[in-house]
Symmetry: C2
Subunit: 350 residues, 2 copies
DNA sequence: TTCCTGGTTTACATCGATGTAAATCGATGC
DNA sequence: GCATCGATTTACATCGATGTAAACCAGGAA
């Protein structure tokens, strides 16, 4: 049992032996315990280097009870918004000494299984959960007694912390921007077929609210649903809008992917943006800035969301207080004006 | 010590006690050991449910010596190619019972530190490493005696498995496609300022090779470098090309982000795609399909790369054989023809 | 010289699970 | 009735680290 085949199962035991000290002293050196003599510290350091010793994290995790790993559950990484969000979260978490384990909830395999359970199995310290839209089982998940931050809409009565976005206000501002440049027949893409839940519902409220305030009647022919908020859904909805002969000169999309899909479809059908149709999106993903024309959008301040989410979670983990009341932070938004709603000037100017 | 504050540190011990069996029996039930009587199994199952017991993964990891977590080190998730790759890898890994821990190597924080060391600290079973371009320290990393699959270019003499792409051949095909539609002044964006290393070098070879075969002289004014292969770099290079007064009617970009940035810049400067300049990219990210005009590109078969990488790694972990020789798989490519190189017809047709 | 003090170092128990090998048990075969 | 066999179940050691508390040790005060 002593002779190993190929791997290097060097333990603190081995290091201690080589350095001629106790295991605990090795541990002390490695964890920067202050009261270690310079001589000892050096002997241990050398022994560590010589043996190529690496700490066994599983052992430490077991002993300490923490893993310094955060889980991140998002619908799918291939959507730019989530990729950029994950990027931001990984960076923030890294800055605080945490690594991130990602689980995609939109995967067919994960579909039926409780994500939280899966993630827990990997002994994460806490979870950041960004549900696409809240389903019954999501709500159940949120009730779990587990350090968790939920992104998106708030679920009342849950024990989790929440970081929400000003969905309604932001889409309202976007809609008002279109009204402000003189558009009156404003279509909207992204309503949820399954009804008034989650981000889709709040965003729709923003749209209708803006129109009502402006004294414009809601035309249901202008309200289009989209199942997944992917580019292809934007194309589909826009083509239906065109095929139906619906007249529109403005388009509010509930995310940038839909908007980019919509722009693609519009241009394929010979409509000029923004002259024939002015388009606004939501999310401020990088693609939008480089699309032709560049896309006006609402930035939900992704970095601020990431920072807040990680902050809330890490705070909660650090505190000895297990039972702090759930906290809720709402992040603001910023309008990002670009060519897809530019007035007067040609799309080439900036 | 027995009364806990808020958490639930239910252990197998507790379950065993409640079910009136030994700890090992509980373990047996949970790990589906076949020789357990139905009665016992049920008693244990009930006790587990009643106490809300969850396995302590750290403990199991320590005992077993494996964590079922794979590390994935990529430059940055916010780049669509890597996001889509990560998506694919997470799915494949999930299908084989592994979760994925992501580390971004392009982060300023990680910059100086050895990624492999960081990741190891998190007790992953293996690592999939996708370096942006090979640096000296990268090569050192590859020498680590640790189950690892490297994506991209091959490093000779490394102990790691490699999954490479047909970089040169693919870009050659892309260039030949432009030649095929009659372009003769073909610019290229993506050469590396730091010299002939990695993917950039192979891809440049493909470009020059195609031109040479076609009997066209290489004009160095047409070869533009880009540091990061982001959209902004594509914009910059293109604008320099235009500002310099360089004449060109075709453009090969070493990835789609560069190409999308280039298209943006071209259109801003009033050039029509593909009539004035035909553009091809590389990666087949989703954005390309929805850009205006849609982008012709080379698909490096991301899913196949992901499947192969995960497969190689998992195989290696499963095998008892510690010292299999490093394996190398080269994945093919597929040309994806779209409007940015369409001939004759207007960009609106398909 | 003896006691005290505070910095160093160490022995030992422990985190929560699983592998090993042996004990237990009921039924079968002679 | 007793040995045997396979299915169940269990006691115990063990994975590799860290917390606790006690031992050790050198220098200064008494």
């Amino acid at each position: 049992m002593k002779a190993r085949n190929g791997r290097t199962p060097v333990t603190m035991q081995d290091v201690a032996q080589l350095a001629g000290v106790s295991v605990k002293t090795v541990s002390n050196v490695l964890s920067d315990y202050p009261h270690v003599s310079a001589t000892t510290r050096e002997r241990v350091t050398i022994a560590v280097a010589e043996l190529g010793y690496t700490l066994n994290v599983s052992a430490r995790n077991l002993r300490i009870g923490r893993t310094r790993v955060l889980g991140l559950a998002i619908p799918e990484l291939s959507q730019a918004y989530f990729a950029e969000l994950a990027d931001a979260i990984i960076r923030r978490a890294g800055a605080r000494g945490y690594t991130v384990l990602i689980e995609q909830t939109l995967s067919p395999a994960t579909d039926e299984i409780d994500t939280v359970e899966i993630m827990r199995r990997h002994s994460i310290d806490g979870l950041i959960y960004s549900p696409l839209s809240m389903t019954a089982s999501d709500v159940r998940r949120l009730d779990a007694e587990f350090p968790m931050v939920v992104l998106g809409d708030r679920v009342r009565g849950s024990r989790a912390d929440h970081v929400t976005m000003a969905n309604a206000a932001a889409i309202r501002a976007a809609t008002e921007h279109l009204l402000g440049i003189g558009r009156r027949r404003i279509a909207v893409i992204g309503a949820r077929p399954e009804g008034p839940v989650g981000a889709g519902a709040s965003r729709l409220q923003g749209y209708t609210g803006a129109l009502e305030t402006a004294g414009i009647d809601i035309d249901t022919a202008l309200i289009r649903s989209a199942a997944l908020w992917h580019r292809a859904d934007g194309v589909r909805a826009t083509e239906e809008l065109i095929a139906d002969g619906t007249d529109f000169d403005g388009l509010v999309c509930f995310n940038d992917a839909l908007a980019l899909g919509a722009m693609h479809a519009l241009q394929r059908h010979g409509r000029t943006i923004p002259d024939d149709v002015a388009v606004v999106g939501f999310d401020d993903i990088e693609d939008g800035a480089f699309a032709t024309p560049s896309l006006t959008t609402v930035s939900p301040r992704r970095d601020e969301v990431a920072e807040t989410a990680v902050g809330l979670l890490v705070d909660r983990l650090a505190e000895g207080s297990d039972r702090t009341a759930p906290r809720h932070v709402e992040i603001g938004y910023t309008m990002v004006l670009r060519d897809s709603t530019a007035t007067g000037t040609a799309p080439g100017s900036e």
